[in-house]
Amino acid sequence: MTGSVPEATGVVNEQAWRLPAASLRSHVTSYTGYRQAGVEPARHRGLPSPSVTLIFTLDDPLVIEAHADPRQAPDTYNSLLGGLHARPAIITHDGRQSGIQLGLSPFGARALLNMPAGEIAHIDVSAEDVLGPLANEIRERLLATTNWRQRFAILDDVLLARANAADQRRAVSDEVSYAWRHLLRTVGSASVVELAAQTGWSDRHLRTRFRAETGLAPKEAARVIRFTRARRELQRRASDGQPLCLADLAASFGYFDQAHMDREFGLLAGCAPTTWLAEEFRNFQATAV
């Protein structure tokens, strides 16, 4: 596979995905490469998820029309770092876009960015602001090759070196690590009281430290984790051409009822579940409901 520039009439729609090197997996969830050209201009919702977003663009800058925090002005980025958030961002492109997106855990933020994810809570910054000249060095190395496998290998190399050099004394505390992992394991169903009891901290102390570390309060993190899992299942049903069965979906992810799940979509995605599907997957048939 090559990343060559398409002919004037050609449509390019490359997607490349892989897990990072095994020893990076607690820091980085995955590498997702994309290169589109000659496609319809699009608006995409950047949805809340349990990962800090790190994007290195390739041919064109990333355009954020609306940030998760409405007080942030629209902007363009060569490389972007986005903290955990509980509202959607709106990303646009004019028919061309390319880059590699990485999802970082709070452990990855500490080890690779050398700071708690909480320092960029709810906001987007240029990755240069945090990584310094390294951000552009990485981008130039990614641009110097036309092959996704090589690009991912470059990321493994750079990030492994950075993780190995990280100061272990500045790692996430055991208590917050436990709370974060337990929320992921239970798909957001563990309560703050339960988490606090397990860590031996007071509810209030856990809440404060958890938010300072991750950028979200435990309850918000739980909502985002549950929402992320529910929308992935929704996406899976839609791509498999299965009935969506929204009431059943809501029940299986612990929402009180379908109306409650719809309300959560409204808050976290800014629209109803079926609207999101229809916007993101143009070939999705609304009749599948």
Binding site: V12, E14, Q15, A16, W17, R18, L19, S239
Partner: protein
């Protein structure tokens, strides 16, 4: 897989009519784990799925015209599982077609065999092959 399990150096490979759908089926129905997927639009150029107990497969979209040895649906594999009953339930609930139901073999393995939506034959069992070294 533990730290001493060597990375696989022999990879079964197959081609699929609808590679993205087959990947979803192998992940949801059998429990393979996606490790890498490279493609363009609906076409998958190369994908790697790992099996939790070790090893994995590589697959991609069938090229047109498909040449007979690589025709989609003509693949067959035996995969080791420690929980054949649970896996049988999971696979059949995901729509795998049963070729041989759960049974105990005379060499002590608990086995079953199913077909995926493309027609490939997957046998699962507790027999781990003859011991090595």
């Amino acid at each position: 897989m533990n730290d001493k399990t060597p990375a696989p150096q022999v990879w079964p490979t197959l081609r699929a009519r609808d590679a993205r759908a087959l990947i979803r089926f192998l992940v949801d129905g059998f429990g393979f784990e996606e490790t890498a997927v490279y493609g363009d639009g609906d076409r998958v150029d190369h994908a790697e799925l790992s099996w939790p107990l070790g090893g994995g497969i590589m697959l991609g979209s069938a090229r047109e015209p498909a040449k007979p040895p690589l025709a989609p649906g003509g693949f067959s594999a035996y995969v080791v599982t420690d929980e054949p009953d649970a896996l049988f339930k999971r696979a059949t609930e995901a729509g795998a077609e049963v070729l041989d139901g759960l049974h105990d073999t005379d060499y002590g393995s608990r086995d079953f065999a199913v077909r995926d939506p493309e027609g490939n034959r997957w046998s699962f069992g507790t027999y781990r092959g003859a011991p090595r070294a």
